[in-house]
């Protein structure tokens, strides 16, 4: 479908960076997953006001790497998000993204697990729910940490740490929904609003004012889209390590490299926090990969790709694992459940000894000397 728009095309798309673009192609060159057809070329299309069906737009992971390299502040990732939004509005969504969205819509999680089972992870744990106690903080567990067996261990560890630190918190259990961060990145604004309204309703019902979360995806959307007070679990951890409430007694004698999550790093400028935590673990040697901090590459799990895996030819997770191997790291530390899922799979598929661990895993080990 071709639409030629004559007037105020930029307003229509709600993307102002458009006219600033001078088509240098930096974004395309830097993009780890681009096949050369985006973002530059698609911005040219947008500029023209000609919108057609672009299947390649779904290769974009919304990792914002291109934004970092744009000399004109064009925010190509926003252009990609805009194009995705237009595609969604026209109903042209590739099957794997459609499935992701339908799962979130029907079951409030990307995998299509039963909503009833959201609280199952805490069956044997002593985790307070909002229904049965007073609390200061709501721990928003997040979809991955609630369902995915690969990161459930992290969830359990967080629960134990929270309990032992005697923090006044509670979880929503079965009432927890999906934060909608990736739904928004896909451009499904209607669904995002639905989720946001629903979440706010739940927050109001239980008097939630402040949120702790471990997932950078939840953190990002709560902070920037919901505008609600939110704290990253790692921030909490960092504070406790600093004031001595958390004692890191056990040595972790490994070479560790840290992979920046896009939603912590480029989206929210949190680069040093996880690194400081890692540095305070005794025995740990922190090394940096070739691309780190601002230039870090994505794990491939963003923008709706977490449920079925990234569909492109280039698997960024594998690139990332190779980078970690290049610096002879034993452990690839992550701070995001999505990254953990993607990178762990990549590490298995390249058949190497690289262990992918959450920062929480490492801290937990250092605190209790177990759990690895």
């Amino acid at each position: 479908m071709v639409e030629v728009l004559s007037e105020s095309y930029q307003n229509k798309f709600g993307y102002e960076g458009l006219t600033r673009c001078y088509q240098c192609g930096n974004c395309t060159a830097i993009c780890p997953v681009s096949d050369g057809r985006f973002p530059r070329r698609l911005i040219a299309h947008l500029r023209w006001g000609r919108i057609e069906r672009f299947d390649e737009v779904w290769l974009c992971l919304q990792c914002k790497l291109c934004d970092e390299f744009c000399p004109r502040d064009t925010n190509p990732s926003l252009a990609m998000q805009t194009l995705k939004r237009i595609s969604v509005e026209n109903g042209s969504v590739p099957p794997h993204i459609g499935e992701f969205l339908m799962n979130v819509y029907r079951r409030r999680n990307p995998w299509g697990h039963s909503r009833m089972k959201r609280g199952e992870w805490m069956k044997d744990l002593n985790v307070p729910t909002v229904k049965d106690c007073e609390f200061d903080w709501l721990w928003f567990v997040g979809c991955a940490n609630s369902f995915d067996s690969r990161v459930l261990g992290v969830t359990e560890k967080i629960a134990r740490i929270l309990n032992e630190l005697e923090i006044s918190y509670a979880v929503l259990g079965r009432d927890e929904g999906c934060c909608g961060n990736d739904v928004k990145r896909i451009g499904e604004d209607g669904l995002f609003e639905l989720l946001m309204e629903e979440n706010f309703k739940v927050f109001k019902r239980y008097g939630v004012e402040r949120i702790i979360t471990h997932s950078p995806h939840c953190y990002n959307t709560f902070k920037n889209d919901y505008n609600i007070e939110v704290k990253l679990f790692l921030e909490l951890l960092h504070d406790f390590i600093n004031d001595g409430s958390v004692e890191l007694k056990h040595e972790f004698k490994k070479v560790v490299t840290y992979h920046d999550s896009c939603f912590l790093g480029r989206y929210n400028n949190i680069y040093e926090l996880p690194r400081e935590i890692l540095r305070s673990v005794p025995g740990l040697k922190l090394v940096e990969m070739r691309s780190n901090r601002r230039t870090s590459i994505c794990c491939g799990g963003g923008a709706g790709n977490i449920a079925v895996g990234y569909q492109g030819k280039v698997q960024p997770s594998i690139l990332r694992v190779k980078e970690a191997l290049d610096v002879n790291a034993d452990v690839l530390a992550v701070a995001c459940p999505f990254c953990k899922i993607m990178l762990e799979e990549a590490s298995k598929s390249v058949n190497c000894n690289l262990k992918v661990l959450d920062v929480v895993d490492i801290v937990y080990h250092s605190m209790y000397g177990e759990g690895l």
């Binding site: 509005e89 109903g91 969504v93 459609g98 009833m116 209607g190 669904l191 609003e193």
Partner: protein
């Protein structure tokens, strides 16, 4: 005119609550194959500009939950939606009840089967009541004058291409491409503006008792140990089976 019959069925993902004389689903959703039928009807509308109507049938419990699927059908392009409340009953009674309403349509689509009706007779029964042809297991439909050309799946990748005179009823089994995605904002605006007409039809209740027959648990034995031990045990078991 095309009509699609959409049934509300238990959402198996959410699970069931099994009681003494009843099976209670936590939640209902539209039968997946019926949604495929909607998809087919909408593409026919796009291709041949046919009017498409949809009728949702749901039990007392599912009567509200069927709405969402009907609205989604409207968002996809269906012209009108009806719904009918039915008690616990068999396909034969449903067919009886609906045949009057369905007379005016020349193409009727529905899922070949449903998760609560694996024997797949609803379509066939209705066709029988209306005295029109029925083809099940359909993958694709094209209209050619007053006939319809359908591809029926035979399994193993084989197809049967049939030419059927209208009116006819087709049981849909699959899609050629995945169902289209409906943006939620569109769905929500449809929910605000469109209306679902409630069809008052008298359906006799004739199912009195639903029981859950628990299948016997198969005996599973995990063999532990190092490979040699495991092999030893395994060999023993196989020997036992053979002799």
């Amino acid at each position: 005119m095309i009509c699609v019959i959409v049934r509300a069925v238990p959402d198996l993902v959410e699970g069931l609550e099994i009681e003494e004389r009843d099976v209670r689903p936590y939640r209902y959703i539209a039968n997946e194959l019926d949604e495929y039928a909607v998809e087919h009807a909408v593409s026919l509308k796009e291709k041949y500009n046919e009017r498409v109507e949809v009728i949702g049938i749901a039990s007392e419990d599912a009567y509200d939950e069927i709405d969402e699927s009907l609205y989604m059908a409207i968002a996809k392009g269906v012209d009108k939606a009806y719904k009918v409340k039915i008690p616990k009953t068999t396909s034969y009674k449903i067919a009886d009840a609906l045949s009057d309403f369905l007379k005016k349509f020349d193409i009727i689509l529905t899922g070949t089967l449903a998760v609560d009706e694996f024997y797949g007779v609803l379509g066939a029964t209705i066709a029988d009541k209306l005295d029109i042809p029925y083809v099940g297991g359909v993958r694709s439909i094209e209209i050619e004058g007053d006939s319809v050309i359908v591809k029926k799946e035979l399994g193993g990748g084989a197809y049967l291409v049939l030419k059927v005179k209208k009116p006819a009823l087709f049981g849909i089994l699959s899609l050629e491409k995945p169902p289209r995605y409906v943006p939620i904002s569109k769905l929500r605006s449809v929910m605000r503006s469109a209306e679902i007409e409630e069809l008052k039809v008298k359906v006799e209740e004739d199912v009195l008792d639903v029981r859950f027959l628990e299948p016997p648990k198969p005996e599973v034995e995990f063999i532990d140990g190092d490979p040699e031990e495991v092999a030893e045990k395994l060999a023993e078991i196989i020997r036992g089976l053979i002799s």
